[in-house]
């Protein structure tokens, strides 16, 4: 009889372990509900701006304030109807109030530029160029003119012939920026000196030592107004991820 009781006990124990074991959910994958969101501040008229993001739970600050020429990366909840508000440190003026969709596991970049009178903003989808089999094997670039200038500017990479899309660009509008969101593949990898010239060939800005290796996706942009405290400057966004 004693043996039987022991047997029942061990059966009960193993049964319990087996059944409860099914409740352990460590192995299950987490749902992925994130998007990558880079924010670039090329708005020179304020010391800083603050990005406030609403993924359906009300506006929440992404940062405590981002300085001029700042580039930050955030992982944010994906949402169909995301809202973004950007306020200036000058009297908390609202510069941007926009709505857009962020898809799961995709990467986007927000560019802020312009003036207090006409603040400008656009959001790019950061995609691998079409027809590329191995995104890690190539390098690709795109270029925006976000400066306060009437010049049309051209980006020169070392001594190479400028890429057509990087030639004679006037200051972007939200539309021209969005239209130029494609990264353009290049085989010209290495360490480069970048210069930006206007249509008279005058050099506005220069930057040395820009590393461009296979797998690098960069946004290059001109910012500033050519005076003080915002001289022309070439900004480089190294994208953490692309779709």
């Amino acid at each position: 009889m004693q043996t039987n009781i022991n047997l029942y006990k061990s059966i009960a124990l193993s049964l319990g372990v087996m059944l409860l074991g099914g409740c352990i959910k460590d192995e299950e994958t987490e749902p992925e509900v994130r998007s990558g969101f880079t924010v670039v501040n090329s708005f020179s008229e304020a010391q800083a701006v603050q990005h406030r993001f609403d993924a359906g739970r009300g506006f929440q600050p992404l940062n405590q304030g981002q300085g001029y020429r700042g580039i930050d990366f955030y992982v944010v909840p994906s949402c169909e109807n995301c809202k973004l508000e950007i306020v200036s440190s000058n009297e908390l003026a609202q510069l941007v109030d926009t709505a857009f969709a962020l898809q799961v596991n995709k990467y986007y970049t927000s560019f802020l530029f312009g003036t207090e009178e006409v603040p400008r903003h656009f959001i790019t989808e950061d995609q691998v160029p079409e027809g590329v089999d191995d995104p890690a094997a190539i390098a690709a670039l795109r270029f925006f003119n976000l400066a306060k200038t009437t010049d049309r500017v051209t980006l020169h990479i070392a001594d190479a012939e400028p890429i057509a899309a990087f030639r004679d660009r006037p200051t972007e509008t939200p539309k021209t920026g969005k239209d130029a969101q494609e990264f353009i593949p290049t085989t010209h990898t290495g360490t480069h000196v970048l210069t930006i010239r206007n249509e008279n060939g005058e050099q506005l800005a220069r930057r040395t030592g820009v590393a461009l290796d296979p797998g690098d996706y960069l946004t290059l942009f001109l910012t500033g107004d050519g005076g003080e405290p915002a001289p022309y400057y070439i900004g480089v966004v190294r994208h953490r991820g692309i779709n």
Binding site: G190, T191, V193, R207, T208, G209, V210, A211
Partner: protein, 239 residues
């Protein structure tokens, strides 16, 4: 009977397992490695990556310093070395190197953002030296952004040819000048003068060159501000 077999088992296991002890085997000696010297004046510091990994203490390595205190050992071929400036993350160096066992190396970065320069030396005991611990030896580099040709004076010693009228090094001239040249042991005032005989920089205090010391002496600084000229001293590991 049982007791006896236990004793036999004990003795047998001690005897057999004893052969596993390797206390008297010679241990491989880990020698060799690279010292990184930062004489790149246009930035506060430089960030070093080998095969895209950071090196402790060299992230960043300040201008006019060297490290790590124990040379890092990266055996093998085709190692990628990248050096980035603390200014705008400009890449100064992107090169590959190979490291042999039992050899010490130095990586020296200098120049400007427009013209960053770098070379890697092999730091060896001079040929024909019987007792490396009995001599002192020196090598000299001009790593300053200047067009002047400079000469190293170690106390009153007659300056050897390799220390005379050196223009700003190129990577090739730096590599060629990697040999340490024996000098008399002593305690010296070290100065660097230009071809006119004008003093460019004096090392504060005196420099001790005791027996068994292998020393790189270099001029760093920039002509645009003559106060930046400085005589750097690095005591090197050699083999």
């Amino acid at each position: 009977m049982k007791k006896l077999s236990l004793i036999v088992a004990l003795v047998a296991s001690v005897a057999l397992l004893g052969s596993c002890l390797r206390g008297s085997d010679p241990q491989p000696e880990r020698v060799g490695g690279m010292t990184f010297v930062n004489t790149f004046i246009e930035a506060n510091g430089a960030f070093y990556l080998v095969d895209r990994n950071t090196i402790q203490g060299l992230y960043p390595l300040d201008y006019r310093t060297y490290g790590p205190s124990w040379p890092v050992y990266y055996p093998g071929e085709g190692r990628r070395l990248e050096i980035y400036s603390s200014y705008e993350d400009a890449r100064l160096v992107d090169t590959t190197f190979s490291m042999q066992d039992s050899v010490y190396y130095s990586s020296i970065v200098y120049g400007t953002h427009d013209d960053p320069r770098h070379f890697i030396t092999e730091d060896r005991i001079p040929d024909g030296v019987d007792d490396p611990a009995a001599i002192a030896a020196v090598r000299f580099y001009n790593l300053a952004n200047t067009e002047r040709r400079v000469t190293l004076h170690i106390g009153e010693i007659e300056s050897v040819a390799a220390f005379r009228n050196r223009p700003l090094e190129t990577p090739a001239s730096g590599k060629q000048g990697e040999d340490f040249i024996p000098v008399a042991i002593g305690n010296y005032t070290v100065t660097v003068v230009d071809e006119e005989g004008e003093t460019v920089a004096i090392r504060q205090g005196t420099v001790d060159l005791p027996a068994g010391s292998y020393t790189s002496i270099f001029l760093t600084g920039d002509e645009r501000d003559p106060r930046t000229f400085y005589v750097g001293i690095v005591r090197q590991w050699v083999n």
